[in-house]
């Protein structure tokens, strides 16, 4: 999987690529408008992360250019300008997703995962992880063909874990994934613990091989 990170903040771009590296992802970086354009013209990517504030030009015009060239890349806008206008115009211009800075790398990873999965397996909506099968169309989960009934939040968490395999996820990142912007209004994210506990219990009852590990004092990890 090739990902183009168009981001003028080189440090952040490096962090993103480092986080994604251990997946099957290959990351390339472009730190200004011209470089980004050159790469967009020259190569094909599976996913493009696009910062809107770029030296030398506006990120939205890159988006327009992509659409004009009829390129099929999925685009996720990552912007410090958390404005609804940008979001709306970005999505209107054909971006697939919008993520406001500052974000957790795990959140970005989960979004990339779901974007690529949607684009790759156009025909099928099924994720298979060993004995675990997730049908994203009907939002049903089975383990060894046994249906596991999950609440919406448990299901969201499961997808989040799958999109961040072998990563340590902090409680804060999980809370932010579930409550979005509201999470930082509170300092106590213990409710995450209850959801994860239920998810683990249900998957265990179905008979999966305990991929979901609790990391002491920090959070959780889906090891596979």
């Amino acid at each position: 999987m090739k990902i183009l990170i168009i981001e003028d903040e080189k440090e952040l771009a490096r962090d993103i690529s480092q986080y994604l590296k251990n997946e099957q992802y290959m990351c390339e970086l472009a730190s200004d408008y011209q470089e980004a354009m050159d790469k967009v013209y020259a190569y094909e990517y599976d996913c493009i992360l696009l910062d809107l504030m770029l030296p030398g030009g506006d990120g939205l015009s890159i988006l327009k250019e992509l659409k004009r060239l009829n390129k099929q890349e999925g685009v996720i806008i990552i912007s410090a300008k958390n404005s609804t206008d940008d979001k709306v115009s970005g999505l209107k211009l054909g971006a697939d997703d919008y993520l406001a800075k500052p974000f957790h790398l795990s959140e970005l990873s989960a979004r990339i995962y779901s974007l690529i999965r949607r684009r790759q397996f156009d025909s099928s909506n099924v994720i298979v992880q060993n004995e675990l099968t997730i049908d994203t169309q009907s939002k049903t989960v089975t383990v060894h063909d046994n249906p596991v009934s999950l609440t919406k939040k448990e299901y969201d968490l499961l997808l989040f874990f799958i999109g961040n395999k072998n990563r340590v996820l902090s409680k804060g990142a999980l809370a932010e994934h579930l409550s979005g912007d509201l999470a930082d209004m509170f300092d106590n994210h213990d409710f995450v613990y209850a959801h994860v506990k239920n998810l683990k219990r249900k998957l265990k009852e179905g008979g999966y091989r305990d991929y979901l590990q609790t990391i002491y004092g920090t959070g959780y990890k889906w090891e596979q």
């Binding site: 990563r167 902090s170 920090t218």
Partner: protein
């Protein structure tokens, strides 16, 4: 508090009253003086005439006595009496006050008299000539009444002129005042003061225009500063967040270190929240949320409650709600959502575990109550970064944002405490 123009009016009125009061006795004295000297002259003429006539013929003592009687009956002004030789006097002027025989009403009369003597047939006579003079108290009264009438006229004139002057010359002043009173730093970019050809007002208007422009500039700078600063802070915060995420992934992270990393997350997300809120405040102030929609209050609250569900459950809170489902608000949906979320998250954060929250809408109001022990400092509650409690989570901006959004739409927000905290928004 007096109006500026009434001050000179008062002073003028007092001054003219003083002058007129002084003028009354002066007038009286002057009139009296003229009067008396005129009468004295008249008396003297009469005396000369009488003397001449008496001397021109030889009158016997009896005749003189008769004349005196006739005079006394017909013309009481002149009288002749015998006197001793030794009492010969210089002519002298005198004044007497006598009861008025003819006019009982008037009581007393003042007479101006002239005494003289003459010798007829070796007999000395004294001639008295008296003329009625107006009493000075009557003169005083008349002058006082007239003066008072003029004073009233003066005052009426002053008031009238004052109004005229106020209406005309002070017009630019009142226009300027009007412009200043309606000037809002948050809305108006510049102030336009009417042209005037009165020097002082033009100076004033120029000074005010300069002052206001300076203030507007400072205000704009402050607003753009906040916005720019928040934008600039986003990147380092984003970097810190991503660094922490990466740090967690390192091999061989001991529980102690991962504890440390987790404990850094909380202040970092607080920093991020403060920054987001500052940015939001700046944007609301800069009127970046102009478009307005017809938003259902009910669905807005239902959405918020769904989002907060976990936090409510986590603290075992009881939430009671009674919603007017038909209530619609005209506002920017994001701003209404933000207002509701801030009030709700506040209530949830500050309610003790197992406490209760009540949400009510209807009659154009949203009321959020939550159980609490003691009232909060209502006056500083809605100020930015006011420390109403020692909690470490809030950005100190939540209620300031509520206030800012409310004032943008002219809604009123109030806090009261009656056994529980009550926040109400009147739309």
């Amino acid at each position: 508090m007096t109006k500026l123009l009434n001050r000179p009016l008062k002073a003028f009125a007092l001054f003219s009253m003083l002058i007129l009061l002084i003028s009354v006795p002066v007038y009286v004295l002057v009139i009296d003086y003229i009067w008396v000297s005129e009468l004295d002259e008249n008396n003297w003429l009469t005396l000369q005439h009488t003397k001449e006539k008496l001397k021109s013929r030889d009158f016997t003592a009896d005749e003189i006595e008769k004349i005196n009687q006739i005079w006394g009956e017909l013309q009481p002004g002149v009288s002749i009496t015998k006197i001793d030789e030794s009492n010969t006097l210089q002519d002298s002027v005198y004044e007497v006050i006598r009861n008025n025989v003819y006019d009982e009403e008037d009581g007393e009369d003042r007479f101006r008299g002239l005494k003289s003597h003459l010798v007829i047939n070796d007999q000395s006579y004294q001639i008295n000539i008296e003329t009625n003079v107006e009493e000075s108290d009557e003169t005083l009264l008349a002058v006082a009444v007239v003066t008072f009438l003029f004073f009233v006229l003066l005052i009426i004139g002053f008031i009238f002129l004052n109004r005229r002057i106020a209406a005309k010359s002070w017009k630019p002043f009142y226009q300027t005042l009007q412009s200043l009173q309606s000037f809002d730093l948050a809305i108006d970019k510049r102030i336009v003061l009417e042209e005037t050809n009165i020097y002082e007002f033009r100076e004033l208007n120029q000074a005010l225009t300069r002052l206001v422009e300076g203030n507007v500039r400072a205000f704009q700078q402050q607003k753009s500063f906040t916005e720019n600063a928040s934008h600039e802070l986003q990147t380092p915060i984003a970097l810190l967040k991503s660094r922490l995420d990466l740090l967690l992934q390192q091999r061989g992270v001991t529980p102690e270190i991962s504890d440390m990393i987790s404990s850094v997350e909380a202040p970092l997300s607080r920093l991020s929240r403060i920054n987001k809120n500052l940015l939001l405040l700046a944007k609301v102030e800069n009127n970046q949320y102009q478009e307005s929609e017809h938003v259902s209050m009910y669905s807005c609250l239902e959405n918020s409650l769904a989002l907060f569900e976990d936090y409510v459950a986590g603290k075992k809170l009881k939430v009671e709600s009674s919603f007017d489902r038909a209530m619609m608000i005209d506002a920017h949906p994001f701003l209404l959502e933000t207002l509701v979320n801030n009030l709700l998250s506040n209530a949830i954060r500050h309610t003790p575990i197992g406490g209760s929250i009540a949400l009510t809408t209807g009659n154009g109001q949203l009321i959020v109550t939550n159980s609490g022990a003691a009232p909060l400092a209502a006056d500083s509650l809605f100020k930015r970064f006011s420390a109403v409690s020692n909690e470490v989570v809030g950005s100190g901006l939540g209620l300031a944002i509520v206030q800012e959004i409310a004032s943008k739409y002219n809604w009123s927000v109030e806090y009261s405490f009656r056994e529980q905290h009550t926040f109400s928004v009147v739309f």
